[in-house]
């Protein structure tokens, strides 16, 4: 596990949120490697440029300029190479409509951005740890579906 850190991607236009996220992720006792993008387009072009294997876990904000989370999610799911990537929506919106729509479009996890740092930490730990278990046991990622 230590030899192979979990590759985590955060796509969020908000600088403060990115800061909170990276701080929280660092404090979790699991080896992770975080890459950050400001919008969906940036992230997609990164995927294409690298040509390497995709990240293990993608946190995707919904409300972003240039390419928002919905568009990005649809683009990922319609691409044969990326359609199996695990996507966690990470948004302020608690609207049922948004939640439903993202799940319908193939999101695995829906996370409401917490308003306390310790909550954020707790949530991230939960997601990351659960994902790690799935990876170890090579479980079907399609069943990896929950909301926090």
């Amino acid at each position: 596990m230590a030899t192979n850190p979990m590759k985590v991607v955060l796509v969020d236009d908000d600088e403060d949120d990115r800061m909170f996220f990276s701080d929280a992720l660092r404090e979790i006792d699991i080896d992770t490697e975080l890459r950050q993008f400001e919008n969906g387009k940036e992230f997609l072009s990164y995927l294409e440029q690298e040509g390497t294997e995709g990240p293990h876990l993608i946190f995707l904000d919904l409300n972003m300029p240039v390419m928002n989370g919905f568009e990005c999610l649809k683009a990922l799911r319609s691409h044969p190479d990326y359609k199996d990537l695990v996507v966690a929506i990470y948004s302020t919106s608690s609207s049922e409509k948004d939640i439903e729509e993202t799940f319908v479009n193939g999101a695995n996890i829906y996370i409401n951005k917490p308003n306390r740092f310790d909550e954020l930490k707790k949530t991230l730990a939960q997601v990351v740890k659960r994902h790690a278990r799935y990876r170890e046991n090579a479980l079907d990622q399609a069943n990896f579906l929950f909301r926090i």
């Binding site: 908000d14 909170f20 409300n63 302020t92 308003n115 306390r116 740092f117 310790d118």
Partner: protein, 731 residues
């Protein structure tokens, strides 16, 4: 069935035929009697005739002796043969004998007897002279004058005798003639007359007999026809014979006849009651006035018709009775008019209703701005309703109702279209609905909608239609469209506000909270006591703001989305809400009891929110020294048991009641507590946004119900919710 022609009409009767018969019998009797009499007379006459013949015979015999004797004498004289003289004595003896016999035969015929009395004397002289002849004298005799004288004397006697004989015979013939006349005078009828009379009498007999016989046959046919009628007729026909007391007053009636119909009425056959008294079989007739009517009919002889109701063993009936006198009794023809009566009543009622409805229709035409017309196409006559005239700006009946006159009101721009449409619907006789404009009197342009169709009534086709003034309707519609557009605009504004509230407002707030938590974490040990206090207050304010935003969001969401109505089990819903509140319940030690709740149709998340808000209110506004007690109950009530001032639609309602023992509120504040941001309590004492009950009200309104709060300061609150209740169909 030729005899039926005579039925019920005045008939000549049997009397003439009986008279004819009697006449024939009399004639026959007369003929028999006269025949007998004539026969008798004939026999008598025949006897007399033969008697006369005998008498004449005797006379001839008597006088033949004299002739014989004379001729013998003469022969002697001529022949001088004395043997001729010897028979004379025999003639004399015989003449005496015949004379006696004749006298007997004459009996009491004095005339003849008188003549007969002359005979003996002449006979004696004749025989005396003849005896005086002597054989020796015969010769002389012939020469002697004396002899000649004597012969002439003998001849003289003989002549006298001959005369007497002639007289006698003449007398007898006269007698015979007289008798024949007498006989003929007695024979009044000749045999031919008798034959004719007999034939006539026989003819009369046969005619009368055949007449009577045919009458009898006709009577038989008529009787069976009558019997047939009596048994098949729908009326009950009876004949009651009067029963009179010693004074001759009618005291009762005997049922002499009734037809089989009676079985259906009283359950007894005609045979069972015939011969009985009406006081036994129909005692009610003695009391309901029928008995008096019968007596009156018998007294006056005038038939009467009476309608009356009867309670008979087989039901309640209404009869129309026709009572007529017949001999010393009455015939009663009772027609069952029960159904007709009912039909009449119903018809009358229907008519009354129709009149009312007509009046209502006229009023409603005015109220609804409707006019109507009926067009009899065959007769080409149109009838406008009063309000159609008014619609055209005229007084009812102000001008002649005609197609042309109506079309003259139509707006020129719509005229062609309407006329073409009329041609089409006339051709196809179809139902139509058109909208056009009319120029009413006074220049006002009205928009009207007409609905026309064709009906057939007794073979004639009518075009009927309704013309409705839709001017204000159209105006309202246009306004409504404008308002709707405005509403849509404000709705989309609200949507964007929602977005702002849900995301853009929460976003910075969340960050503030995040930074506070970071700051607190990092600087906890470095902050002064005051700094820590301030930081805590900032956090509390930020939390409160977040809570406020969330509530506002949920309020606008409830207002915005009516949500999908599904079957919701309120018991299950309550359980879920109590589960969500479990921590709070535990903290406060609340007792929450709920009766069995029904399954309703509604939006589940909204009803959940409603329960949550109400229960958390009760938990929140508790008395500081007492654990909350909350009772949830439900019942189904009809609409009229709900406050009529609410003007709720007619339906059954589910009444949900939430009662708590909290701090309550003043009743005069009750209308305020459902308002947005309205809070009855100081912020510091109770946390709240003033949105909870506003959301509740919104939810109840979304479900077309009503919510009301009742309370008393420090004595708890009672929230009553009425929701339209429809029983979900069984799955």
């Amino acid at each position: 069935m030729a005899f039926l022609g005579n039925l019920g009409k005045k008939k000549p009767g049997v009397l003439p035929y009986v008279l004819l018969l009697v006449l024939a019998v009399i004639v026959l009797f007369y003929i028999a009697y006269t025949s007998y009499r004539q026969n008798q007379a004939l026999r008598e006459s025949t006897e007399l005739v033969s008697n006369t013949q005998e008498v004449i015979n005797e006379i001839n015999m008597l006088f033949a002796n004299y002739m014989g004797a004379e001729s013998a004498g003469v022969k002697y004289l001529i022949s001088n043969d004395s043997t001729y003289l010897s028979p004379i004595q025999g003639f004399k003896d015989k003449s005496t004998l015949y004379s006696k016999r004749l006298a007997n035969l004459f009996g009491n015929n004095a005339e003849q007897i008188k003549r007969l009395e002359l005979v003996p004397e002449l006979s004696a002289q004749l025989f005396g002279d003849l005896r005086s002849f002597e054989p020796e004298t015969a010769e002389k005799f012939l020469q002697s004058q004396t002899l000649r004288d004597r012969i002439s004397k003998i001849e003289g006697y003989l002549d006298s005798l001959e005369n007497i004989k002639a007289e006698m015979i003449a007398s007898e013939y006269a007698l015979l003639k007289e008798r024949r006349q007498a006989y003929e005078s007695k024979v009044t009828l000749t045999p031919l007359n008798i034959l004719y009379s007999s034939l006539f009498a026989l003819g009369v007999l046969m005619f009368a007999f055949s007449k009577i016989n045919s009458d009898r046959k006709k009577m038989g046919a008529t009787r069976s026809f009558l019997r047939n009628i009596l048994s098949t007729v729908q009326s009950t026909i009876s004949y009651f014979e009067a029963v009179r007391n010693d004074e001759g007053d009618i005291v009762d009636f005997t049922i002499r006849y009734t037809n089989d119909k009676i079985l259906e009425l009283i359950g007894k056959s005609a045979e069972e009651i015939e011969g009985n008294l009406i006081s036994e079989e129909y005692p009610f007739l003695m009391e309901n006035g029928d008995f008096e009517v019968f007596m009156e009919v018998i007294t006056t002889g005038k038939a009467q018709e009476v309608e009356r109701e009867y309670d008979l063993p087989n039901g309640h009936f209404v009869f129309c009775n026709e009572i007529a006198k017949l001999h010393d009794g009455v015939t009663v023809v009772a027609q069952d008019i029960t159904l007709r009566k009912e039909a009449e009543d119903q018809l009358r009622q229907t008519n009354e209703e129709l009149e009312v409805q007509n009046a209502i229709l006229k009023d409603s035409e005015v109220v609804a701005s409707i006019g109507s017309y009926t067009w009899d196409i065959a007769a080409n006559t149109i009838h406008y309703s009063d309000n159609l005239y008014r619609l055209l700006g005229h007084e009812p009946g102000a001008f002649e109702a005609s197609y042309k006159n109506f079309m003259s009101f139509v707006h020129p721009e719509d005229l062609r279209r309407l006329k073409e449409g009329n041609r089409e619907i006339f051709r196809q006789k179809m139902r139509s609905e058109r909208t056009y404009r009319i120029n009413a009197k006074g220049g006002e342009t009205k928009h009207v909608q007409s609905m026309d169709h064709f009906i057939k009534k007794k073979g004639d086709t009518y075009m009927v239609g309704v013309v409705r003034d839709i001017t204000s309707h159209l105006k309202n519609e246009r306004e409504l469209v404008a308002k709707n557009r405005e509403l849509q605009r404000s709705n989309s504004e609200l949507e964007s506000f929602n977005r702002v509230a849900s995301h853009d407002l929460q976003e910075p707030l969340r960050k503030i909270q995040m930074f506070i938590s970071r700051l607190y974490e990092f600087e906890k040990n470095r902050l002064s006591e005051k700094g820590t206090d301030y930081l805590e207050r900032i956090e509390s304010s930020a939390n409160r703001m977040q809570y406020l935003i969330r509530n506002l969001l949920s309020y606008s969401r409830v207002a915005d989305e009516s949500g999908k109505q599904t079957k919701v089990d309120l018991n299950f819903l309550l359980e879920k809400v109590l589960d969500d509140l479990s921590q709070k319940i535990e903290e406060t030690g609340a007792q929450i009891t709920a009766s069995e709740l029904p399954v309703v149709y509604g939006t589940e998340f909204q009803l959940g929110q409603l329960f949550l808000n109400l229960l958390s209110n009760s938990l929140k506004y508790k008395k500081h020294d007492r654990a909350p007690e909350i009772v949830v109950s439900s019942e189904i009530v009809p609409y009229h048991k709900v406050d009529p001032a609410l003007n709720l639609p007619r339906s059954r309602y589910l009444r949900l009641t939430f009662v708590d023992n909290g701090i309550g509120f003043d009743q005069n504040q009750s209308h305020k507590i459902f308002k947005l941001f309205e809070r009855l309590h100081a912020t510091s004492a109770f946390s709240g946004t003033g949105l909870g009950l506003a959301i509740c009200e919104k939810i109840v309104e979304n479900h077309r119900g009503h919510i009301a709060a009742f309370g008393k300061h420090n004595e708890g609150a009672r929230i009553i919710i009425h929701l339209p209740h429809r029983t979900p169909p069984n799955p």
